[in-house]
Amino acid sequence: MSVLVIAEHNNVTLNPVTGSVIAAAAQLDSDIHVLVAGSDCGAAAASASQYLGVSRVLVADNVAYAHQLPEAVAPLVSGIAANYAAILAAAGTTGKNLMPRVAALLDVGQLSDIVGIESADTFIRPIYAGNALATVKSSDPVKVLTVRTSAFDPAATGNTAEQAILDTVIAQDKSVFVSENLSTSNRPELASANIVISGGRGLGSAENFQLLEKIADKLGAAIGASRAAVDAGFVGNDLQVGQTGKIVAPDLYIAVGISGAIQHLAGMKDSKVIVAINNDADAPIFQVADYGLVADLFQVLPELESLL
């Protein structure tokens, strides 16, 4: 039986995390359909059809799905669920908002943030802020899954899968989109960057984050932050890394002025190489660091910038 991937997109561009979800789906079945629900979303649908392994892209293009509100998209998905053995989405805020609603409409459970697939019904997922990995078997007729995309390398492209129009329109007015304020940055996406440099409370102010920006520019890195830095207003919440923020696993993660609370480690400890810069030798961040530098960040950051 086929599996269905819910594309993450903004109508124009397809979020690359979708490629990782397709890679996870490919471990379940070789026949993969992708749903692109949006408004004027032809460009996103075209990108989705490029992934190898995708046999069909279902396009639900209607103003009803303009902001992809779960009140509209969940019934759309549950309406076609009978055709599929599994339904997968990226475990970002969009997928987390949508998939439990889909599961409840189908009267099945949902598995969040899977990092491994043992078989068609058995999955691995972190619990307790990543301090344990649970192997969970589902007896549900359809598996509803969100995928931790940092755990799956994206599928390759080079395909042109057929597109099929899905003309079901779910009209609802219980939830209405009012506005959005999305941060625009020329830097790579935090969730998929090869290098991430993150600042914590130790940075002391929003201005001091410029010290990180200069280095990020040289390294082509994304900028991240601890919850404390977000709470203190140094940076926006979209930069938060951790158990309740974004999960990243770049080739290089540089933690600056971050103590290494379990909730922060949950979001970055699967990075390939971890660097910690902190003036407290006892900070727990050093326990996960491959390279630790016990020093004042205000001295290190300018040095680092000039050496790169």
Binding site: T93, A132, S183, I195, D290
Partner: protein, 250 residues
Amino acid sequence: MKILVPVKRVVDANVKVRVAADQSSVDLSNVKMAMNPFCEIAVEEAVRLKEQGVATEIVAVTVGDEKSQEQLRTAMALGADRSIWVEQAGAVESLTVAKLLKAVVERESPDLVILGKQSIDGDNNQVGQMLAALCDMPQGTFAFRLSIENGKALVSREVDGGEQVVSLSLPAVVTTDLRLNEPRYAKLPDIMKAKKKPLDKVTPVDLGVTVNNSLSVLAVHEPPGRKAGIIVGSTSELVDKLRNEARVIS
């Protein structure tokens, strides 16, 4: 208006849990338990709405064993007027929790249900969305700002790219993010008063819900450890290691 606040008893956020020796679960013997931090934020938000004169009654509810009554007492010490204990020992799956909460919603007819976005034990992030689906209510998840205006809930949400605002007709489900508010601490007189507030017990049978499980945990493992790192002596040594040893920068 009436607000229902589902709260969950979980391991304290400061505890680093360990996997049990037989790898069947995590070892929770003798660890400190507390109200899930996101539920504390949910209670606080309800209390603030009551203080603003927007809400008139706050009902806390939990699905859990005998001991979960402690978290209901905490919720009442923080300002909930009364509470409902749905007695059910052991791990309960999100869908079942949502079904039990739906039955409570049918009994109580709240205008707003405020939940945490995620419990920090299972890290599921599901119950609010599931409850909204079962009750056919709109949902405002990951809220960092909430106001009631013209009979609608205006919810500012934390999303991956930044922020989004939605307007929901009531009744609605809202789930809290950390930035929504900073919960108060319960004062001693309030803790004493909470002991006298009503706490009603119901069972899944009373609510007409069958508890069944579709997800079984086969094993729980320790995540792979990281190999020990080194402390470098200077910034230049760090850059040298990253370039020539780890080869992660050019």
